[in-house]
Amino acid sequence: MKLKVDKTIVASAALHVLVIGWGVISFSARSLEAPPPESMPVDIISADQLSKITAGTKTGDKNNPKPLVEKVADPKPVDDDAVGKITEKKEIITSSAPQPPPKPVEKPVEKKPDPPKPVAENKPKDEPKPVEKQPDPPKVDPIAEALKSEEAKKPKPKQEAKAAPPQPPKPKQERVFDQTKIAALLDKRDPTRQSITGAALNASASLGTTHGHAATLSQSELDAMRARLASLWNVQPGVEHPEELIVTVRIRLNPDRRLAAPPQVVSTGTSPRYQAAAEAAVRAVLEGQPYNMLRDESYDQWKYMDIDFDPKQMFHS
């Protein structure tokens, strides 16, 4: 009595095993380590408040997304944008970020006298605009001017040709002969413009984020680090006078989130119990590496840290 085995079933079984086996191996990858998202402040409000607020926030919401974009793109579209929109931006800037407003206030006053001489010649018609243009690109003055001049080319090529004649005239004389060379030069300008604007975009974006959140360690980052250290910090039950055993450990972290140097105990205590407590704290800090919950953007904030290991609350009685 031989068992008849259907080859197709064997093949099917083998195939299933293969596929499942492949899946087991390939899908069992390490879980991705994602930094925890920043915590959002949440206010609880009543329906009345909501109805009142929504009226206000409608504009706010509309404004909020725009300013972010506009800020980022400020140097570019200044010329294109209408005057009305710019006034909206101002409101948003003052409300969202406290730092920007002083700049426009100070600089326009200084620049108003300055620009008239060089710029007034080029753009007498844009009287309302200069006020906005100047506050925005104060640090990037040469770039901004270049951008303005370049972008101004499109609507008003004649004026700008006058403004920026020194360079082009020479090449014109030479390059008139080879059209391909002019094209090559033009091509080069475009990427340079783009790269500049790109850099400007990044810079303004990073500034924006620093104003927004990134400059300070988010609560969730600190919480995550605190939780990590708390889970590794061994506290002895029943130790005498735990209130005396507060240990402060100073650490310096590398951008890879590992210690750049051995942790340093900066608090002082002489008893053997304190020494043991200090060693336990250092052990926790050493074991906690790497601190993957910390974000790159806030490196300046977590480069140096003082960590207090305070067992007081654990032993109320």
Binding site: L217, V235, P237, V239, E240, E287
Partner: protein, 454 residues
């Protein structure tokens, strides 16, 4: 049983670690000046978890020392486990096999199994017949040697060596003195409950080396250790009234303390071991007296129409806590060691009818342990000498007779489940954690912990 000890010098660091150490030192010098605006993080809560420690078998100096090497590591492992503060790692998980205790271990292989501390040792028989024990305690995370000692003793005292090494490890990692090199005297109980034979017995704190001190002809109660560890005092029912006896553990000699009419009971040594404080019966009442063991001079400490008993000195000898029913029910009082006004310190918040008894002062002075009776339950608890901070460690049908470990961090007591069974000894951390039964050959009660032997 003499044990001589010498510190082991730290091993020379290899070059790589020297470099790391140097870099660390320079970085540490730079840190304070650079760190001006660093983030401050407060960790308000830690992990009350035992410290993972690896204790591989001690290396054998000669093939004949293999067994003792394993035994010593076993006793250390058991001690540290029972303390509740350490979690010795299963040797099956060890990656590195230690064959030379004079070489620094490969710390990475111990980090891998999450060991935070590592104990490496060697046992070797000397030409003069003595046993040499060496050990080093390593911090795995930093790769530093935290402690190193070598000991010489007679081979039969290997267990004591293991306790001493355990104490060294405990002290270095917790900052508190250990308590493993100590003994416990207790009342061994055997036979049926109606005809119980009670014998005085002594054992190591981990339950090993049990030795019987009396034959069980007479009933014995409340043994107490002298701070000198060579003598105990206890109460024994002889032919007449119960008497307080003094017993020399080494010589086996015993004598009656004083010659008083009526009962004398509930004795305890003063911290200097020169005096015994006890209760003397006077009619239906009893008062506290102190007797100088050299001059035999006896001084009265209390004079009340009540039962004053269970006196215990504070570790500095300046005060005495005791039990008295002068207020109607047994409560705990504290008074100056020379007698005087006594302050009641036990006040139950949740049970006005609760009574307090068997007070005993912690060797580190911060707590008084007691037995509390109320609501049909017996509890073991702690309160501060000023009466504040009462905490109950354990509650049950019958718990009684607390005694502190030499470092004041563990309390031993006895528990009787009732019925036909008998009492057993238990230990519990003063934080209320880690309740453990102490192995004894039979039923056991009335434990008294000795001071450290060394």
């Amino acid at each position: 049983m003499s044990v001589t000890s010498f510190p082991l010098p730290p091993l020379p660091l290899d070059r790589r670690r020297l470099l790391i150490g140097g870099a660390g030192a320079t970085a540490a010098l730079l840190l304070p000046s650079l760190a001006t605006a660093q983030t401050k993080l407060v960790i308000p809560e830690g992990n009350v978890a035992p410290l993972p420690i690896a204790i591989p078998n001690f290396v054998a100096g000669s093939p004949a020392d293999g067994q003792v090497g394993a035994d010593v590591a076993g006793v250390i492992t058991n001690n540290l486990t029972r303390s509740g503060l350490f979690a010795p790692i299963d040797p099956a998980a060890f990656i590195e096999r230690i064959t030379d205790s004079d070489k620094p271990p490969n710390f990475q292989s111990w980090k891998t199994i999450n060991a935070q501390a590592l104990v490496i040792g060697r046992m070797s028989r000397q030409n003069d017949g003595r046993l040499k024990a060496e050990f080093r305690l390593w911090d795995v995370a930093s790769g530093q040697q935290l402690a190193g000692q070598q000991y010489f003793t007679a081979p039969e005292y290997w267990r004591r060596i293991a306790h001493i090494i355990s104490d060294q490890i405990y002290e270095r990692l917790t900052g508190d003195k250990g308590y493993f090199d100590s003994r416990v005297v207790f009342v061994d109980e055997s036979g049926p409950s109606e005809r119980r034979v009670k014998r005085l017995a002594i054992m190591d704190q981990d339950g090993a080396n049990v030795r019987y001190l009396t034959r069980g002809a007479d009933l014995v109660l409340t043994p107490r250790f002298s701070p000198s560890t060579q003598e105990i005092t206890y109460m024994e029912f002889g032919q007449g009234d119960p008497r307080v006896y003094l017993f020399n553990i080494e010589t086996g000699q015993r004598e009656i303390v004083g010659n008083f009419p009526g009962m004398s009971f509930s004795p305890r040594f003063s911290p200097d071991g020169q005096r015994i404080v006890m209760s003397l019966q006077q009619g239906a009442n009893s008062n506290l007296f102190v007797m100088d063991l050299r001059s035999k001079a006896t001084t009265r400490l209390t004079d009340t129409p009540a039962i004053d008993t269970s006196p215990c000195y504070s570790p500095d000898g300046s005060q005495i806590c005791f039990e008295s029913d002068r207020g109607g029910k047994p409560q705990i009082y504290v008074m100056p060691a020379a007698g005087g006004t006594a302050q009641r310190i036990s006040f139950s918040k949740d049970d006005v009818n609760a009574t307090y008894s068997t007070p005993v002062w912690s060797p580190r002075g911060d707590y008084i342990a007691f037995t509390r009776q109320g609501g049909g339950q017996f509890s073991i608890g702690l309160l501060k000498p000023d009466g504040s901070g009462e905490r109950i460690l354990t509650t049950g049908f019958h718990n009684e007779g607390p005694t502190f470990a030499p470092n004041g961090r563990v309390v031993m007591f006895f528990r009787d489940p009732g019925g036909n069974s008998g009492p057993s000894l238990f230990t519990i951390d003063i934080s209320g954690r880690n309740e453990l039964k102490v192995p004894t050959p039979g039923f056991a009660s009335d434990p008294a912990w000795s001071p450290l032997l060394s």
